[in-house]
């Protein structure tokens, strides 16, 4: 118990000193499947992991909500890696839970969307745990794609699949999602410029923009 308190205190202190990288600077866009290879080719040239094999991922993401309790709903994203690596059991694959805050668009001078984002690793029983807390699954989807790195930036190119029945996943639209993001502690607004500059290099192939969620 004592250890738990001190861990919480440490977290509080870290928050107060603004060293927790919980701010996500984000730009989003999409690329048509037909042009995806061109984009991948360009990213291989621009990103850091040129020499290595590009990292792939396949995640199943469940969106869970709690509430509404007095008109308020909390949403959490639980992700389960589906690409079983050699020597691993399906039950060994990593699970993560994610909280995403209200996105701030800011004015035109802000290069990126800014939102709170907290990712934590979990045990596979996280779903049971959340269900006990009263969370209900809202919907789910599958992401399959590639990950690139450029400094602190993360670039994801992935296809989204939706399921009508339990194991029948169908691709959504003829495009791949492209996401460019950096996680940084509060006040590191300079990294947003890096994100914008990188996005400029992908034009006109992909238009990475601040998504105005209210207009969707």
């Amino acid at each position: 118990m004592c250890a738990a308190i001190s861990a919480q205190e440490k977290l509080q202190a870290a928050m107060q000193h603004k060293i927790v990288p919980n701010q996500e600077y984000l730009l989003q866009g999409s690329v048509l499947d037909s042009s995806k290879d061109v984009l991948i080719h360009r990213l291989r040239g621009l990103a850091d992991n040129v020499d290595e094999q590009v990292e792939t991922f396949q995640d199943r993401e469940r969106v869970l909500t709690l509430g509404p309790v007095s008109g308020q709903t909390l949403t959490l994203y639980v992700r389960q890696a589906m690409d079983v690596r050699p020597g691993m059991d399906q039950s060994d694959t990593p699970w993560t839970m994610r909280y995403i805050g209200q996105p701030e668009l800011g004015d035109k001078s802000r290069p990126t969307v800014l939102r709170n984002s907290i990712d934590v690793g979990c045990t596979p029983n996280v779903l049971e745990f959340l269900s006990e807390m009263g969370f209900k699954q809202d919907y789910e989807f599958m992401c399959k794609g590639l990950m690139f790195r450029k400094g602190r930036m993360k670039i994801l190119v992935y296809k989204v699949y939706k399921n009508k029945t339990a194991d029948n996943w169908e691709p959504l639209s003829m495009s791949h999602v492209v996401e460019l993001s950096v996680l940084a502690p509060q006040g590191h607004d300079a990294v947003a410029e890096d994100v914008r500059n990188f996005a400029e290099q992908l034009k006109p192939l992909v238009q990475l923009e601040k998504t105005d969620y209210r207009r969707l």
């Binding site: 999409s30 042009s35 993401e61 309790v69 909390l74 209200q102 996105p103 709170n116």
Partner: protein, 215 residues
């Protein structure tokens, strides 16, 4: 008085000249170093930059040479007064170790004002061959040559236009769709319930995070 003025002009010209030559020498050195040390990682643009610099500096040099204020250097005579096979430390230093002694075998090369005899001979051959053709025939050849070159130029420009319009079209062709972007982003659902107020748990988290940079 006029002698003095001429001297001054000559000094100034030589100064300018040696300055330009030094610049050129440095750039050549840098280019060579780049080629030797970094040829594995060198990019075309960087090599082209180096060459552009060299060409620019050569032009500067020629401009100084052709400047009206520069006295005609060809009217000057450079005359070796003393040749010596002994090693001359000062000379070594001045020439950065290239010329150890002002000796008989080197001086003719360094003070040469004419081409190498071999080059001269070949030049002579070409010139005599050119002279053997009648002016009329030469004119005809020039016209024919111009015609060929112009045709070639037209062809190249045509292909360039074709290529550019093609690549412009390729660029115009759609590589992304706004509608798809919106559909996908809506589907991955990182869209908080905007109409609803933030939950109490969310408020807690916010309280811990303290001031938001936008507020």
């Amino acid at each position: 008085m006029s002698m003095q003025r001429e001297e001054k002009a000559l000094d100034a010209a030589l100064d300018a000249f040696s300055q330009r030559l030094n610049d050129l020498k440095q750039s050549i050195g840098q280019t060579l170093q780049k080629l030797e040390a970094g040829h594995e990682h060198m990019s075309w643009p960087s090599l082209l930059d180096s060459f552009a610099l060299l060409s620019g500096q050569l032009n500067n040099l020629l401009r100084v040479l052709k400047n009206e204020k520069t006295p005609l250097l060809r009217n000057r005579v450079t005359l070796p007064l003393l040749l010596s096979p002994e090693r001359d430390e000062q000379l070594v230093r001045l020439t950065e170790g290239r010329v150890p002694a002002f000796a008989h075998d080197l001086v003719p090369h360094y003070l040469r004002t004419k081409h190498d005899p071999m080059v001269e001979e070949r030049l002579q051959m070409v010139e005599s061959k050119a002279a053997s053709i009648s002016a009329d025939a030469a004119q005809k050849q020039v016209t024919a040559m111009n015609k060929v070159v112009n045709n070639l130029l037209d062809t190249i420009q045509q292909s360039r236009e074709d290529w550019e319009s093609e690549s412009a079209r390729a660029q115009l062709s759609q590589t992304s769709s706004v509608a798809d972007t919106q559909q996908l982003i809506a589907a991955i659902g990182t869209v908080p319930q905007v109409n609803k107020a933030p939950s109490s748990i969310k408020t807690n988290i916010k309280a811990n995070i303290q001031t938001h940079p936008y507020k």
